[in-house]
Amino acid sequence: MSKANQSIRLVDTSLRDGSHAVSHQFTTREIATVAAGLDKAGVPFIEVSHGDGLGGSSINYGRSRLTDEEMLSAASAAINRGSLTVLLIPGIGTQEDLEMALNCGAKAVRVATHVTEADIAEQHIGLAKKMGMTAFGFLMMVHMRPPEVVVEQAKLFESYGADAVYLADSAGAMLPEDVRARVGAVVNALSIPVGYHAHANLGLAIANSLAAVESGASFLDGTCRGIGAGAGNAQLEVLIGVLEKAGYRTDVDFFAVMDVAEDIVGPLMHRPQEIRNASLILGYSGVYSSFLLHTYRAAEKYRLNPRDILIELGRREMVGGQEDMIISVAYELSQQREVSKNEAGYSDARSGHGKV
């Protein structure tokens, strides 16, 4: 098969996954400018939501500066060609939220569940299709289960009427061989397109995205400058350059996306999207990427090393959305430290925890 004929559809999630990196504080002006730039560049799907999807604004995940309606209306007014896309995580967002998003101009939805829980999304996929939206199934944390389980869950999404199924490496924990095994198995088993969503915690976001398309994926996610949870996502402008060099078509204007990244997204970032120790541990231990900033805050409050909290969360097999368990683990580690201090008469703040 000649790659020149292979077209890769891109979803930009700077304004959704990127929302984590700015603690959900995007302004309407920022949303409108980024969305307009991406739309002019020809990006077909532009995802805009709180990082945890519709209804995500909360104490647990962080409150948004804007309501969902305000975010979506700002983006919708700026988009002419592409599809305004939203994320919906059943258990957090509801069907009412999806109806609201449609009224605000959303054309596509990604309904996301943990890799083993696709059956909680049947109603939401059904409603999206009934309302005429493009519906993606989105399996999160796919590193936690072997290919056969991922296939079985992806098939559920296909049976509910999803237009495509995404495999998300939400913890940025997979190696290229893990991506090939899962994406390849799902591509073989399904008759609908398959997508892949990367995180850069192990420095493999672009390499893994390439491995995914080589295994038959035809949708990829990226964000400008890599802005996103944890160490960020596959950097969209890099991804487009790499795909072009590898001989794939994206139908997106490479230079125009580079300009959005450099001139618009770069200046609004709160910090450089680099791999620091805590995000490296997310990938290494397989912990949901959006736990990062919440973990920094808990580590400060309870005077702990973020790494110890993250390793414990990984050991307990916490899944996406369990940000509250960061508080639980931090509290428990701080209590253990008090106990060991009292027992040993030893006051090093770093003792008594961090067992790997």
């Binding site: 909360s58 104490i59 647990n60 957090i92 083993t116 909680i120 109603q123 899944v319 369990q322 508080i327």
Partner: protein, 287 residues
């Protein structure tokens, strides 16, 4: 004094677990288990010497001695059962999402509702978190309550899975209506870790008056009240106060009557339902 005779409609997992709890009750007599087909639940009840029927609600309606009926079938069947039970003068304790009658959380509002003909058990997350919200609200004034319920995947049945929005909607409403919060939000997470995790609930409350001592004492009192009917209900993180935000984390270990211990979410439903039944029975017995 004679025990009050009760029946269970719906011999599934919830109905079976509830049956064991009722069999231990000092006030309730497990009189009949009703289903519509022969099933393991019917056979289980029969083997324990309990009257059973596969003719649905009719034999219950025909027995005037049955005073309280627990319905663990489904929302649609309960819609049909509710008026029949009321006409027959029987109190219905509704464990389905039908929610025809008011929400009841025994540790909070059973005394206000003991005369209602039909009581709804909210959701497992509601039974676990509304009491904490109420405990904080009664001393500190709850402006906003938000809960995150995590249950093990194995303990989430098809009913919950096919209508997960019903959980978030009903629970959020109960945080306000029963818990007292001005606004409420509920989130549910299913976690497939193996061995399965205990049910864990995080309760965030934004309050008017963050009096730490009063909040901690009120929560401790509430804990003792809940532990009377759910012994495995524990504080994992006692109320932590930051400015006007109170964070409390609880976990629920099931009694392991019929359902496994990790299914604290189901145990708290059946335990609370049995608790409601006992309170109603106490009033019927005049004490």
């Amino acid at each position: 004094m004679d025990k009050i005779k009760v029946a269970i409609l719906g011999p599934g997992n919830i109905g079976s677990d509830l049956m064991y709890k009722i069999m231990r009750s000092r006030r309730l007599k497990m009189e009949m288990m009703a289903g519509i087909v022969d099933s393991p639940g019917i056979r289980r009840a029969k083997s324990l010497g309990i009257r059973t029927t596969t003719d649905g609600i009719r034999p219950i309606l025909d027995d005037p001695q049955i005073r309280i009926v627990f319905d663990s079938t489904g929302a649609k069947p309960h819609m049909e059962h509710a008026p029949l039970l009321e006409q027959a003068g029987k109190v219905a304790v509704d464990l389905t999402p039908a929610a025809i009658g008011p929400y009841v959380v025994p540790a909070v509002n059973i005394d206000d509702l003991a005369d209602a003909p039909n009581l709804n058990m909210v959701t497992c997350g509601g039974q676990a978190t509304v009491p904490i919200v109420h405990a904080i609200h009664r001393v500190a004034g709850a402006r906003y309550a938000e809960i995150v319920a995590c249950i093990s995947s194995k303990s989430a049945g098809p009913g919950t899975r096919q209508n997960i929005d019903e959980f978030t909607r009903t629970t959020a409403r109960a945080l306000c209506v029963v818990g007292g919060a001005k606004r409420g939000k509920a989130i549910i997470i299913l976690n497939p870790a193996d061995p399965p995790l205990l049910m864990t609930d995080t309760v965030f409350v934004e309050v008017e008056n963050p009096d730490e001592k009063a909040i901690r004492e009120s929560v401790e009192d509430m804990l003792a009240a809940i532990q009377k009917y759910v012994p495995g209900y524990r504080l994992r993180v006692p109320p932590v106060i930051e400015e006007n935000k109170v964070t409390t984390i609880i976990e629920v270990e099931g009694a392991g009557d019929f359902l496994p211990k990790y299914a604290g979410n189901l145990d708290i439903m059946t335990a609370a339902a049995a608790g409601v039944g006992e309170a109603i029975a106490a009033r019927m017995q005049g004490r």
